[in-house]
């Protein structure tokens, strides 16, 4: 019984939240890794593209709520998501047309493109704050829980409950659908294979008659769609706040580099490693340990490695360790050149 309580406790406070968080990071990291594979630069504007997509989804959600549209028990934001995706795609395509394409034609080094993307980051961040403001926006409506901790305790008779929020379940389901669709596209379709070929060897792809402009366009479309999905799910699960999308770049880049740059499978693995590390390192294990031994054996302290305020330090540590120990990542990816 005590062991089951310990497992339930850990599932409720570590496993479930970390899985949902990992899925959100994974969707973000897939976009970063895809752009790196195709265009060969670190796209720092990715976080703000996410933010812009989520903002558009929220604005449309408000509009729908104003019209009295509801898909209860599901959150209305699900209906806003397609609009967010379209907005994010529009942003990536316009940004490519007015910023990145110029630098590509100049055949600049990757670092120049990365710098240009930082410029874009500031422009988009300003635009988002201009439109929706810097405050946080809570958009979750619909049913809050699939199962509450209280119901779980009633059902099982355990002392510890497992609550699953609807947004967590939705995050996982949508993320899995998006990832399966992406991997199917990359593995099975002609356009997807052309993208992999282009990422593998640009010169040979050109010799094979693969149209580089088309490959780049598809990469941005996919990236925009994934970014808006990730950010909308994150906002539903937690809260929408513009500044979060600058901070979230760190776990996303840590996941990308940990998984192997340009490797979509690696990005997903990396994302979950980062998410689980972050949640576990900042979780207080005192009660968990308490269940595993005789009464009152648990230590006085919280048994928490790091305060939650420092959770981004976890990504940073992972980033530094990977770059020192295995710069190619888990699945051997590209190494960023200057």
């Amino acid at each position: 019984m005590e062991l089951l309580n310990a497992i339930a406790l850990l599932t409720n406070f570590v496993l479930i939240p970390a899985t949902a968080y990992g899925a959100q990071i994974a969707l973000g990291a897939l976009g970063v890794t895809l752009i790196f594979g195709i265009l060969r630069f670190a796209n720092f504007s990715h976080g703000e593209v996410m933010s812009f997509g989520a903002m558009a989804a929220i604005l449309f959600t408000w509009f729908l709520q104003g019209q009295g549209v509801s898909i209860h028990p599901l959150p209305t934001a699900l209906l806003g998501l397609p609009v967010g995706i379209l907005a994010a795609i529009a942003v990536t395509l316009i940004a490519d047309r007015v910023v990145f394409r110029y630098y590509r034609q100049q055949r600049v080094t990757p670092i120049t493109l990365a710098m240009a993307s930082i410029g874009l980051l500031f422009v988009l961040a300003g635009l988002v704050r201009f439109i929706i403001g810097p405050e946080h926006q809570n958009i979750a409506d619909g049913e809050r829980f699939l199962i509450t901790a209280f119901e779980f305790r009633e059902m099982t008779g355990l002392d510890e409950g497992i609550g699953i929020r609807q947004t967590q379940a939705l995050t996982l389901v949508i993320a899995v659908i998006a990832m399966v669709a992406l991997f199917w596209f990359l593995q099975k379709t002609r356009a997807g294979k052309a993208m992999r070929a282009y990422s593998d060897n640009v010169d040979l792809a050109l010799l094979s008659g693969i149209n580089p402009d088309r490959v780049v366009m598809i990469a941005w479309i996919i990236t925009g769609a994934l970014a808006a999905t990730a950010a909308t799910l994150y906002s539903l699960d937690k809260v929408y706040q513009p500044f979060i999308f600058l901070q979230i770049l760190l776990p996303i880049f840590a996941a990308t580099i940990l998984g192997g740059i340009g490797q979509p499978v690696g990005a997903v693995i990396g994302a979950f490693v980062v998410a689980y590390s972050e949640v576990m390192v900042t979780y207080a294990f005192r009660r968990f340990i308490g269940y595993l031994g005789p009464a009152d054996w648990a230590p006085e302290s919280m048994v928490q490695l790091m305060s939650t305020n420092y959770k981004f330090a976890v990504s940073f540590i992972i980033l530094v360790v990977v770059l020192l120990v295995r710069p190619t990542g888990i699945i051997r990816g590209k190494v960023i050149e200057r």
């Binding site: 002609r190 294979k193 052309a194 992999r196 070929a197 990422s199 593998d200 060897n201 010169d203 040979l204 792809a205 050109l206 010799l207 094979s208 008659g209 693969i210």
Partner: protein, 234 residues
């Protein structure tokens, strides 16, 4: 007029000319080989023929059509295929995917061509689901040639196809290249292994310091005492 006539080509990188007044011609169903010492401009001549370098003088005519100013990508649909010396396969993709990518410009059914390639290189059929990056050097070269053949080219250009493979594999590759030429494709290749390459060549071009030095049939060049002494080691 020859099927491919690259005549009086002069070009180079920046100011200096690497090749000067260089001419290379290939007929359909024949193998033409460019040989010469290191730094003679053999690979540069190949790049010039494929349009990867801008010509200062001279012209490239394929099947009666002047393609001198056509960019390289647009030469692929015209029937030219190029196998570079390095990076000539997609290492993270399977053998079969490599062949599919080779046929990217085609919208018709590619299965018959793929079967022909597998017939030519049976080992590729066995390894069709393996990543090209995991294959041996000789097998990779077969993938590279196979990928190029997928466009159903009229002219196949190979830049040192036997670089870094063992002598046995080299002989085998040359046999396959003869098979390719027999199907009516014009083959143009640059080779380090001058003697073996000239043995299978219908025409040979010996280049020295960016210029044509000797031009003759492969047989005649092998018999030419001066060529033997200077370039074939006696």
């Amino acid at each position: 007029m020859s099927f491919l006539a690259a005549t009086h080509m002069t070009c180079g990188y920046g100011g200096a000319n690497i090749i000067e007044d260089c001419s290379i011609t290939v007929e359909q169903g024949e193998i033409a080989v460019v040989v010469g010492p290191n730094g003679a401009g053999k690979s540069t001549a190949m790049k010039a023929v494929f349009g990867m370098l801008e010509l200062k003088e001279g012209s490239v005519v394929l099947d009666g059509q002047d393609i001198t100013s056509v960019p390289p990508q647009d030469r692929v649909p015209l029937g030219m295929a190029f196998v570079p010396q390095n990076g000539n396969v997609f290492v993270t993709m399977t053998v079969e995917e490599n062949l599919e990518m080779g046929a990217f410009i085609r919208n018709d059914d590619i299965t018959p061509t793929m079967e022909q390639v597998y017939e030519l290189f049976p080992i590729l059929y066995e390894k069709r689901n393996q990543l090209a990056g995991e294959l041996s050097g000789g097998q990779r070269q077969q993938v590279a040639v196979g990928r190029a053949l997928m466009t159903q080219p009229k002219l196949l250009m190979l830049d040192e196809p036997t670089a870094g493979v063992s002598p046995v594999v080299m002989d085998d590759l040359f046999d396959r290249i003869i098979d390719v030429a027999r199907t009516g494709i014009a083959v143009l290749m640059v080779e380090q292994n001058a003697r073996q390459a000239l043995e299978i060549a219908d025409h040979g071009f010996v280049m020295v310091q960016g210029k044509n030095r000797f031009t003759d049939t492969g047989e005649a060049l092998l018999a030419n005492p001066e060529v033997r002494r200077s370039f074939l080691g006696g």
